[in-house]
């Protein structure tokens, strides 16, 4: 018996040894965020398309054009100080800001910008389409994107795109300016530094990448010579915490300064503490349902219209989505230039039933809703399931991880998909191109990046309007066209657009200056300070 007592006592003693060794509070010059960073798979701006990495490289690299935290609505030059559009609208000449330096000490020259853009096109990774849509290919980009001298460069597009669109696109991650000399000196087998840059940085932004340990931690170090001045914090750490409740615990205990992935209920719980503040940042992510137009029943316009009238948007937005999603029913997120704020739909079971009857399905039918496994998607799916049941539609739910869901979606193997979408760059064409523009609906065309194609839907009127708006030079006309296009998609097409995200970030009251704009990569760390 005494043996046991001894053992238990020693164990307890050991445990008590460790009491009080947990560092209470984070260091004064380090900004620590708890976030799920499992989506990071590369740090190369020519390849990055994930949400977390998008925001990280936005803080490591300066881009050709940028939105700045001081004024998120206005597009300004990043590494360029001025530009001139030719009379045809197809050539833009840029002038660099003088005296810019990379983290390595190398000067930022026009040749670096040109090389960075050419590299994106030549590597042809996922986000390359943002600039290859201008007509650039690996063969012609060397002549279409050229440095005129150390301070000026010129780009020429072959399509009829509106210059406004081109400039907006150049504010995306693919327009990050990469240190040519540093990267090329680490090139291997002509890969343009691809292997090397996967886990390192070569930028000129407010921070440089110190470490990235996958699924563990990302550490950024401040660049004291940044053109906007030294950042407020010496280091920024993103700590991987996949459980929202763990994030909350860490925040409340002071082990992190900010928790990025708290659910609405946890925000409620955390906001009770006097030391915690909640920031609300409208985001460009929209949650939508897409009905496969190739499905014999879902392909009918009245049926999709019935779906739009069956969903009880308000009820969801006011309960488990409260604070983090607002009702939004157009494909371009609210708050952005060109957004349609009308929300004409609410639950109207009678109307839905009559629509279904008109389509010949008064007795209802059965379908499957595929969606993601992470909150709030299973909850939304279950609420929608209950809503659809009111119209006589029996919905089965299957939740899948993203990597398992997308292949199905891309192969048109679904009935209804419940997912989210965020713009690739801040221009209405980014979403119009996905939702409204399907130039070739054949299965063989494999336009797997286009949502309309994935849902087997193509409409001539929609296609024409999308292209017209894309090319329109007059800004007011362009805006009108996008409003028209969004209204069109509210009445036809396979999409039931439901919500827009409102990011809620919980932080310690003394940690201020964090800016999170409407796009996934419009997140800025450089103004954070601890009071």
């Amino acid at each position: 018996m005494s043996k046991i007592k001894n053992i238990l006592l020693s164990f307890t003693a050991l445990v008590m040894l460790s009491f009080g060794s947990a560092q209470a509070g984070t260091p004064g010059n380090t900004f620590v965020m708890a976030k799920d960073i499992a989506d990071i798979i590369t740090m190369d701006p020519a390849e990055v398309f994930e949400l977390t990495t998008g925001e990280i490289i936005a803080n490591i690299y300066d881009r050709v054009m940028m939105f700045e935290p001081e004024d998120l609505q206005t597009l300004v030059g990043g590494v360029v100080e001025s530009w001139e559009v030719s009379s045809g609208g197809k050539t833009i000449t840029f002038r660099m800001r003088p005296g810019l330096k990379f983290h390595s000490g190398n000067p930022v020259r026009a040749q670096d910008v040109v090389w960075s853009l050419q590299r994106v096109v030549k590597l042809n990774k996922t986000p390359a389409f943002i600039i290859t849509q201008f007509g650039w290919t690996a063969d012609n980009v060397d002549s279409l994107v050229q440095a005129l001298d150390d301070n000026r460069f010129q780009i020429t597009i072959t399509e009829d795109f509106s210059p406004g669109l081109v400039l907006n696109a150049l504010s995306a991650g693919v327009a990050s300016v990469v240190d040519k000399n540093l990267v090329m000196s680490n090139e291997k087998d002509g890969d343009l530094g691809y292997e090397w840059l996967k886990s390192r940085s070569a930028g000129s932004g407010a921070f440089s990448l110190k470490t990235w340990k996958a699924n563990e931690i990302v550490t950024l170090e401040a660049n004291p010579d940044y053109r906007h001045g030294a950042p407020g914090m010496k280091r920024v750490i993103l700590r991987h915490v996949s459980e929202p409740s763990s994030q909350r615990l860490l925040l409340v205990k002071g082990d992190v300064d900010m928790a990025r992935n708290l659910t609405p209920d946890q925000i409620k719980g955390a906001s009770g503490k006097s030391s915690i503040a909640i920031d609300n940042n409208p985001k460009g992510t929209i949650v939508y349902m897409a009905a496969n137009a190739g499905h014999p029943i879902l392909g009918k316009t009245e049926v999709v219209q019935a779906l739009r009238n069956l969903v009880d948007y308000e009820s969801m937005a006011n309960s488990f989505l409260a604070g983090q999603f607002v009702v939004h029913q157009a494909f371009w997120p609210g708050g952005l230039w060109g957004a349609l704020e009308d929300t004409p739909y609410k639950q109207d079971v009678e109307k839905a039933k009559s629509l279904l009857a008109a389509a010949g399905h008064a007795d209802g039918f059965e379908l499957t809703i595929h969606t993601l496994t992470n909150s709030p998607f299973p909850e939304i799916a279950q609420a929608v399931q209950a809503d659809l049941a009111k119209g006589g539609i029996k919905a089965n739910i299957v939740t899948l991880e993203g990597k398992t869901l997308w292949p199905k979606y891309r192969a048109r193997e679904h009935d209804i998909i419940l997912a989210r979408w965020s713009p690739d760059y801040v221009d209405p064409h980014s979403n119009a191109d996905a939702f409204a523009h399907n130039p070739d609906n054949r299965l063989e065309a494999k336009l797997t990046g286009v949502l309309a194609w994935r849902n087997a839907w193509a409409d001539d009127a929609s296609n024409m309007l999308a292209v017209k708006a894309r090319n329109e030079l007059d800004l007011d006309k362009r805006k009108q066209q996008y409003l028209e296009l969004q209204t069109m998609l509210q009445k036809t097409g396979p999409f039931v657009i439901m919500f827009q995200q409102n990011e809620q970030v919980a932080r310690h009251k003394g940690v201020v200056g964090f800016v999170s704009g409407s796009n996934f990569d419009l997140v800025f760390y450089r103004n954070v300070i601890k009071q």
Binding site: V15, F19, N215, E243, V252, D424
Partner: protein, 354 residues
């Protein structure tokens, strides 16, 4: 948790006059190799059958078909499955476990990073199981039918029956959030990250070696809770088996004889009965350790512990097949190795088999 059934050690009778030990060893290696091949083949097939698309894991769901096809060819996915498998085996023979999609690092590096974390957890949990479980089992056996026995059995049964992830969550809430007795999720406070050189990968050993005692304490504080949760499992199982073995021993004649002879009870229990139980316990401990290695998956999820369990889980969801295969092989080998050792030890020592 796999309970070793004594009966199944018998094989198809004697008859080989050759040096049976040598044959045994060859046999062991042969079966190891076969098991290994079976393991990898099954995992490989599962990977190729998986609906999660490894290409999409790399290019993202928005990629155009062009980009998709490019990577598809790069990964060699256009070749028939057995060619892919043999290619993989070939690389394996050279010690190349491939590169992980998720981390962009060689799988071997990833495993070196994650495996020690799990080992750390499993080891401390097993130690807990040994130093608390064994005495508990002995006490229960000695006081069979009376209240110490009942208490031990109840504790053991609860530890054995509770869903471990749930237990972990509740423990975090109580001991970290409310009582502040231990550190929270993760292996180390953010502040200390990167200070200690990862020589062995086991944070506490590395910290001790570098003399960083603050970090040592912090690492321990983070380790205590997950190890205790895993340890409850180990403890329950070990206590149960110890009790069972001790009861077996205590009912034997020589014990009766010793008692009749007037030997002090303490000697009877610890000097005689327990001694004979010790070797059996070693195999049980081995089995427990092996189970903990694979059972840590759920604990690692709850405690954000960057170990091999969560590595394999995440890789599965991303269809990062190199990572899954690499991780499964490593865990599988340890698993098989430990089980084999336990088996051998048992055979060696169990008088019935002799």
């Amino acid at each position: 948790m796999d309970q070793s059934t004594p009966g199944d050690q018998q094989s198809a009778g004697p008859g080989l006059a050759l040096p049976s030990n040598l044959l045994k060893i060859v046999g062991v290696f042969a079966s190891l190799a076969l098991t290994f091949i079976g393991l990898t083949a099954i995992t490989f097939i599962i990977g190729r059958v998986m609906p999660a698309d490894p290409v999409l894991a790399i290019v993202g769901d928005r990629a155009s078909q062009e980009v998709y096809d490019q990577v598809f060819l790069q990964l060699g996915l256009d070749k028939p499955i057995y060619i892919q498998y043999f290619k993989y085996l070939g690389q394996l023979a050279e010690g190349d476990l491939g590169t992980s999609i998720m981390t962009a690092q060689p799988v071997a590096d990833d495993i070196l990073r994650f495996f020690p974390a799990t080992l750390e957890l499993a080891t401390v949990a097993t130690l807990l199981g040994i130093f608390v479980g064994i005495p508990m089992g002995v006490v229960a056996a000695v006081h069979k039918g009376r209240w110490p026995d009942h208490i031990v059995r109840v504790i053991g049964l609860i530890g054995y029956s509770a869903p471990i992830f749930w237990l972990g969550m509740v423990a975090l809430l109580v001991f970290y959030a409310r009582l502040d007795w231990v550190a929270g999720p993760g292996r180390l406070d953010v502040y200390y990250d990167g200070i200690v050189e990862p020589k062995t990968g086991v944070l506490m050993i590395d910290a001790a070696m570098s003399g960083e005692w603050e970090i040592f304490r912090n690492a321990f504080s983070h380790l205590v809770l997950p190890a205790s949760i895993l340890g409850t499992f180990a403890l329950a199982y070990i206590a149960r088996m110890t009790r069972s073995f001790m009861l077996d021993q205590l009912s034997q004649e020589y014990i009766l004889t010793a008692r009749v002879k007037g030997m002090p009870e303490r000697n009877v229990i610890w000097g005689h009965a327990f001694r004979n139980v010790l070797v059996q316990l070693i195999t049980i401990i081995g089995l427990t350790y092996a189970s903990l290695l694979e059972g840590s998956v759920l604990t690692e999820t709850v405690f954000s512990w960057p170990g091999i369990g969560q590595y394999i889980t995440n890789s599965l969801f991303n269809n990062d097949m190199n990572a899954v295969l690499g991780g499964t092989i490593v865990v599988g080998i340890c698993f098989v190795g430990i089980n084999l050792l336990s088996d051998l030890l048992y055979r060696l020592v169990d008088p019935r088999v002799r």
